[in-house]
């Protein structure tokens, strides 16, 4: 989706739903990100105008929480857990292997926006460490070669 093709009317139902609620900035941003995949400038400025929350404050909130993205994400989000349990069970090697296989640094997307690679801290499935989440599907006791094969199979 290019910046000029952003359909801002998609925001209307979200803004309407949270209209009367105090402190609803974060849920509004979360829902907007669900719609657009990230938070482009046009979306933030529309939210700012409608909610009368200064865009500077919105920007402050967006950059504070790790969930929000100001940049476009890949079609497949690969989250490798580097929480303590995963860390002591081989997550660093896993991150390196996946990064090499996809030719990506953690926190970045490839030029075709196929994959985004992220490091996260703890998904609460420590009994199955190390854990990788691909598009909300959780894989436990992951081995590098298996997960790389799964990633390569994605379209």
């Amino acid at each position: 989706m290019h910046a000029t093709s952003i359909d801002l009317t998609l925001l209307d139902p979200i803004l309407e739903e949270f209209k009367e609620q105090k402190g609803a900035v974060i849920p509004i941003l979360q829902r907007a990100q669900d719609v657009y995949g990230y938070l482009p400038k046009e979306v933030l400025s529309t939210i700012s105008k409608k909610t009368k929350v200064p865009i500077s404050r919105l920007y402050g909130v967006v950059t504070f929480y790790s969930q929000f993205n100001l940049e476009r994400q890949g079609r497949h989000i690969v989250r490798v857990c580097d929480g303590t349990a995963c860390h002591v069970r081989g997550a660093p090697q896993l991150i390196e292997d996946i990064g090499n296989a996809l030719n990506l640094k953690p926190g970045s997307s490839d030029p075709d926006y196929k994959y985004t690679l992220e490091i996260v801290y703890c998904l609460g499935s420590c009994g199955l460490a190390p854990v990788v989440v691909v598009d909300d599907v959780v894989y436990g006791k992951v081995k590098s070669e298996d997960i790389i094969e799964k990633l390569n199979e994605l379209d």
């Binding site: 303590t84 349990a85 002591v88 090697q93 420590c126 199955l128």
Partner: protein, 637 residues
């Protein structure tokens, strides 16, 4: 109109729900599938599909119930078969291909597949199964007392009637009909329950402060922002028994006089959020939330707020800022939230576990609760037992149990014949304890005295192959990345500590660095605004105290005794004991290892890049590490 208009309605619903449960158990077979996040990650969805397919093919309409996590994550996926009038038998490590046999033998012919069975649960009306141990006999469960986790993995978390049948909302009913706010607070104070979020403040006293504070409306908040890496106690409770948390919150709000509450749950727990929202909707429908609960004049409303990914939001003032839609930055206390919290009004914040325990205290009494545990720390402690340990999972043990009992009895020790090195409690803000501290009783005060903290319940066991310096560096990477940046000691101190630790793990450390670590840590502890900054130096201070020799080995000898920090040593295979299994050869990224199958292997030192992959892969423990310096001097000689 709500389904339950008054106290009598609840009592009669409970009776009919129990009767129905009893009848179902006596007349129909049920299959239970452990569908917590952990179960799903281990493949429970595929198993569920296989079960449905098998039932369809055989034209069976057996009831299938999805339950939460029973705690023993290492054995997932778990499937239970319950035949009418017979004990419920749990199968472990279930794979789709095992389903036809389990259904054929057990479900249809009543013959338990003993070699796949883990344990059985039975109540008084069930006939036990011979040849399968009970949960109480399983080492993982034999020392546990389950209060906060009592329903997890047992009942269907999406059914309010199952919760009611298991004495759910009975405590609320008792509180509303028999007690006033002061009684509830007295009972909570007498129980000695200390906040399970980690700080260990007396819960009843916290409620009293908020109850006595001036201002209206008041708020009750449940802190479910479980950000500690390696901890999943709260997730399991929310997924496995959401109504217990809701009931605890209603009781707290009745005691405090709060008409409104929030559950602040991290967005990384989508299943917990889904189950909570469903449970809240059910509670509304049944008249247990909303106006005039159970016909009383007490009203309470509850909402779920999703976090957006910030560890610091587990700190109560930061959490409150986040609910208000702001950056989740902490502020100085006092004023405490009990006086001025959400929107400047009196607010009470408790952890998920504290709320989940509350109904049981109200139902069974303060004396019952305080008879469990120690005098200073009553009741039970919930831990997520993880890391290099045989039985990973969720446990609830009486306070006062020793670390040794948890690790060697409940956890059944360290896998792959490796040795125990340390146990980290309290997550990235806690501390580690060495072998010498294994007999420390687990309670708030003893753990603090020993040099660690209770924390909210993460317990990570590490073996001989974990470098304590690298582990401390890892915790600092996490804590400094999560520093909100508001106060200087935390923002800059964390960075400086991380730089020093990184330098040491790379072999460029100096002995003065150790003094510098202590100096920075002291000021971070004293001067940081919130617990995040104050406790960030915890892990490095604890490991420096107990594992100073490892720090000195890195600095003086450029050697990592655990063989983790790269480029400090050479690897050789002990050819007398190598069994030639080939695991190291497979793990080596350089193809530097050669050898015939079942013959001793060797490492070509010219190709080896000292990555340590072979060392980690070896199951027989025959790869030796030698210091690079020694090797070079030996070669020179």
């Amino acid at each position: 109109m709500p389904i339950l208009k008054n106290s009598e309605d609840l009592i009669s619903l409970r009776a009919s729900a129990q009767e129905k449960r009893q009848k179902d158990r006596a007349s129909e077979a049920t299959i239970f599938i452990g569908m917590g996040t952990c179960g799903i990650a281990a493949g429970a969805s595929e198993v569920a599909d296989a079960i449905r397919k098998e039932l369809d093919e055989r034209n069976l309409d057996t009831k299938v119930v999805n339950v939460g996590c029973i705690g023993i994550c290492v054995k997932e996926p778990l499937v239970d078969i319950k035949l009418p009038g017979k004990a419920r038998v749990t199968y472990h490590h279930v794979k789709p291909k095992m389903i036809p046999k389990i259904i054929e033998d057990h479900l249809l012919n009543g013959k338990v597949v003993k070699r796949w069975a883990l344990a059985q649960i039975s109540d008084e009306n069930d006939t036990p199964v011979e040849g399968v141990i009970t949960y109480q006999e399983h080492p993982f469960y034999s020392k546990q007392i389950r209060i906060a986790l009592r329903n997890c993995g047992i009942i269907d978390p999406e059914s309010i009637e199952e919760y009611i049948a298991a004495d759910g909302y009975l405590a609320l009913n008792k509180v509303l009909s028999e007690t006033d706010s002061e009684d509830v607070i007295e009972e909570m104070k007498d129980s000695g329950l200390r906040g399970r979020g980690g700080a260990g403040f007396l819960t009843g006293l916290k409620w009293e402060f908020c109850m006595r504070a001036r201002g209206y409306p008041k708020y009750v908040i449940c802190n479910a922002d479980e950000g500690d890496p390696g901890a999943f106690m709260d997730r399991s409770i929310l997924e496995g028994d959401p109504h217990a948390v809701i009931e605890g919150m209603i009781i707290a709000s009745y005691a405090i006089g709060a008409p409104e509450g929030y559950i602040y749950c991290r967005a990384e727990y989508p299943l917990a959020i889904k189950r909570l929202k469903k449970a809240i909707a059910q509670a509304h429908e049944y008249g247990l939330l909303g106006d005039n609960i159970l016909g009383s004049d007490f009203s309470f409303d509850l909402k779920v707020k999703e976090g957006a990914g910030a560890f610091v939001c587990g700190e109560e003032t930061a959490l409150i800022a986040s609910i208000e839609g702001k950056r989740g930055e902490p502020r100085p206390r006092p004023p405490y939230p009990a006086v001025s919290g959400l929107w400047g009004k009196p607010t009470n914040v408790n952890n998920v576990k504290s709320f989940a325990i509350t109904p049981q205290i109200m139902l069974k009494g303060a004396d019952w609760f305080s008879s469990i545990g120690t005098s200073g720390s009553t009741g039970t402690a919930v831990f997520a037992l993880t890391g290099n340990i045989e039985n990973t999972g969720l446990i609830e043990v009486p306070m006062g149990i020793t670390l040794r009992e948890i690790i060697y009895d409940v956890g059944e020790g360290i896998p792959n014949k490796k040795n125990f090195k340390a146990v980290q409690t309290g997550g990235p803000l806690g501390g580690c304890l060495p072998t010498a501290s294994l007999d420390t009783p687990v309670d708030f005060d003893s753990l603090t005295k020993a040099g660690a903290t209770m924390g909210s319940g993460g317990m990570i066991v590490v073996d001989q192959d974990t470098c304590m310096v690298e582990l401390a560096r890892y915790f600092l990477t996490f804590a400094s990345a999560e520093s909100c940046g508001k106060c200087v000691p935390c923002r800059i101190g964390g960075q400086r500590l991380l730089e020093i630790l990184t330098r040491i793990t790379e072999g460029h450390g100096k002995m003065e660095d150790l003094d510098e670590i202590e100096y920075i840590s002291k000021y971070m502890r004293e001067d940081s605004l919130c617990a995040l900054g104050q406790l960030t130096p915890g892990p490095v201070m604890a490991s420096l105290r107990f594992f100073r020799d490892e720090y000195e080995a890195h600095i003086k000898e450029h050697f990592c005794p655990a063989g983790v920090c790269q480029g400090m040593f050479t690897y050789t295979i002990d050819e007398d004991n190598c069994i030639g299994c080939g695991l190291c050869m497979k793990a080596c990224p350089q193809n530097a290892i050669s050898g015939e199958k079942k013959q001793p292997h060797t490492i070509d030192q010219n190709l080896c890049i000292q990555c340590g992959a072979c060392y980690q892969a070896c199951k027989t423990n025959v790869i030796d590490i030698t210091r690079l310096q020694e090797t070079t001097s030996a070669q020179a000689a």
